[in-house]
């Protein structure tokens, strides 16, 4: 009984969000069933469409895993957006500024740059949270805006491409481009890296000591401290890992899809990833399904806008509703996730 209630509660936000979307569509005189079935076929109808969906899901896998690691340990880190943006900038920078003939090493260096910058970016708030108990919600939130300001300042100034109009870095060298998996679509090998990270995350949750301690700190920080877990270390490590994965996601996005860094690099991948981590209650399988779902919404939403005049903003309405309802409790069930 509890299990079925729990499953119902997990899917409730998604069900209601489609219902709200349907109301919006009915209000403007469109048939929601027609639009939704069109979206379904635009999201999964053919190999090409599935590739587009997986491509849109790729950055979300990274940001969702990055968020989930912190939420598990009770650290309310909402700074993934900033780590993603700066990681993307770092990856693109190494991609266009250094020439290495070996493609493998070039990509490796670019991704490492993203990982380092992303991890470094969240070091300050993690240190402040662990040592001085500074509210990480506010610091990570503010750091997002600082990250965007830094990135925008750099691409409009020192890193601006010669001859390009505005707001973009030069193209990365060909040796730094991630392999396209199904050529006409933008699906790139970054997707495989994302799946690899997701599997590692799943393994880390259920089979590693760190994963166990990470969850314990999330469930009860004081108790964990009392039984001898180094909570400071767990909090800092979780946030560094989270930033590193966010940065890796950003650099994959730069190397795989855009092949450069542009202003407005992330249309809110960090926030969507947060929504996915929440509705999946930090489970690896849930993150996979959620990323595909939101990836399909994004890719189908774009084509729907082209073919049937339904504004892409419908996707925001759906996503916003999911986030509004993601953490509600309708039934009083004991929940094991830290952020509630």
């Amino acid at each position: 009984m509890n299990l079925s209630k729990s499953i119902f509660q997990d899917f409730l936000p998604i069900i209601i969000s489609f219902f709200v979307g349907a109301l919006v569509l009915l209000f403007v005189g469109e048939n929601p069933l027609e639009i939704y079935s069109l979206m379904l076929s635009e999201g999964f109808g053919s190999t090409r469409r599935i590739a587009a969906t997986l491509s849109s899901a790729t950055p979300l896998i990274f940001t969702a895993v990055a968020t989930a690691i912190c939420f598990r340990s009770g650290v309310f880190n909402i700074g993934i957006e900033g780590a993603f943006v700066l990681g993307g900038l770092a990856g693109a920078f190494v991609g266009f500024s250094i020439e290495i003939n070996n493609s493998f090493f070039h990509i490796l260096f670019c991704l490492l740059a993203g990982i380092l910058v992303g991890g470094f970016w969240l070091y300050l708030p993690s240190w402040l949270r662990a040592n001085w108990k500074v509210d990480e919600v506010v610091t990570t939130l503010m750091l997002n805006f600082i990250a965007v300001a830094i990135a925008t300042g750099l691409v409009n100034g020192p890193l601006l491409a010669k001859g390009a109009g505005n707001n973009m870095t030069p193209m990365i060298h060909e040796s730094a481009e991630l392999l396209k998996l199904i050529p006409p679509s933008t699906l790139h090998s970054g997707f495989l890296i994302g799946i690899f990270v997701l599997i590692l995350y799943g393994y880390f949750c259920s089979n590693s000591l760190f994963g166990f301690e990470n969850k314990m700190v999330g469930l009860n920080e004081i108790f964990s401290k009392a039984v001898g877990i180094n909570t400071k270390k767990i909090i800092i490590t979780s946030m560094l890992l989270s930033g590193a994965i966010g940065g890796l996601g950003g650099s994959c996005h730069a190397l795989g899809v855009l092949h450069r860094f542009v202003e407005g690099f992330s249309p809110g991948y960090g926030w969507t990833g947060m929504a996915i981590a929440l509705i999946s209650r930090n489970s690896a399988l849930g993150i996979f399904i959620g990323s595909i779902l939101f990836g399909a919404l994004a890719s189908a939403g774009t084509t729907i806008q082209l073919f049937s005049d339904i504004p892409l903003d419908l996707v925001d309405v759906l996503q916003g509703t999911v986030m509004l309802l993601a953490t509600i409790t309708v039934f009083n069930l004991r929940k094991n996730n830290a952020v509630r």
């Binding site: 108990k133 300001a149 925001d316 986030m323 952020v339």
Partner: protein, 300 residues
């Protein structure tokens, strides 16, 4: 001198939306809810104000409609938190995305516009110039020729200490925010008080948005708010929930805002100035954390 005077004059105007949103957010914060959704409510207020003002030919109705719509959004936001135990930060973000989605949908579907809306007959807020002060140098530019909402926002800001520390309602809201259990034990309805404080926050955020659309620009655009809701959040964190201090922080942020617009106009990089509010808040929170830490160590 003229240059500085211009920056200050437009800085005062640019303070108004931040100040209004910060007052609302502050009341909400005192009631125990951190309002991340100010940004979305400002966006809602901005578009409602311009539509109503154009259709009724009245800026006052535009303002009231904006305030009412956003306070409704605030109430809805609050109910999810107080009655359904949702996480306030997530709900706030959700509300921002939800409102941006709805407004964007509306603009594209009904106006065929991808981001801006300008309606003929929009009645803007009038400018009130003060008879004697107007001609004085500096003081004239600072205080005269401002819209009524700017005046109202400062009057409310300066009566805030009295409202929250001396009136029954203000004390009850603070009680609900500082200790839920104590508030319950003395018979207060914490949930109702929180919902009320969120509705008030929504109302002020709506006015703040309206000030941007029908007070300053005379048009609506999706990028109109551009993080001012979060700047307001930064302001009351910086002001440590004290109303007067928060208002002065808002004034500083407003002047910074006008400086960065000037810099952009001159083709200079404005990002360092844009980042100042965010950096100062991290600085002040770190300082507070550090001094708390030191105090607790001294006690040991």
């Amino acid at each position: 001198m003229q240059f500085v005077e211009n920056i200050l004059a437009s800085g005062v105007l640019l303070t108004t939306p931040i100040l209004l949103a910060a007052i609302g957010g502050l009341i909400n914060r005192l009631g125990g809810i951190v309002n991340i959704g100010l940004e979305g409510k400002m966006l809602l207020g901005a578009i409602i104000a311009i539509i109503v003002s154009a259709n009724t030919n009245s800026w006052l109705l535009g303002l009231l409609a904006a305030g009412f719509a956003s306070s409704l959004a605030g109430f809805f936001f609050s109910v999810l938190i107080t009655r359904l135990n949702a996480n306030m930060i997530i709900v706030g973000f959700g509300l921002n995305i939800f409102i941006a989605g709805l407004v964007g949908f509306y603009l594209k579907w009904f106006h065929g516009s991808s981001g801006t809306l300008k309606i003929e007959n929009t009645v803007l807020l009038p400018k009130v110039s003060l008879p004697f002060i107007h001609d004085l140098p500096l003081i004239g530019t600072l205080f005269s020729n401002k819209d009524p909402l700017t005046w109202i926002s400062w009057i409310i800001a300066f009566s805030m200490p009295w409202i929250i520390f001396k009136t029954r309602l203000g004390m009850r809201i603070r009680c609900a925010g500082s200790d839920e259990n104590v508030a319950r034990s003395i018979g207060l309805n914490v949930n109702n008080l929180r919902d009320f404080s969120s509705s008030i926050a929504g109302f002020f955020a709506g006015l703040a948005g309206a000030h941007l659309s029908i007070g300053m620009l005379g048009l609506f655009s999706m990028g109109l708010i551009s993080g001012r809701g979060f700047i307001a959040l930064a302001a009351f964190y910086f002001g440590r929930n004290m109303p007067i201090r928060t208002s002065l922080v808002c004034l500083i942020f407003g002047i910074l805002d006008s400086m960065q617009i000037r810099l952009q106009g001159l083709g200079l990089p404005s990002e360092p100035v844009q980042a100042i509010p965010w950096i100062t808040v991290i600085g002040i929170l770190s300082f507070m954390g550090w001094s708390e830490q030191r105090k607790s160590q001294e006690l040991k």
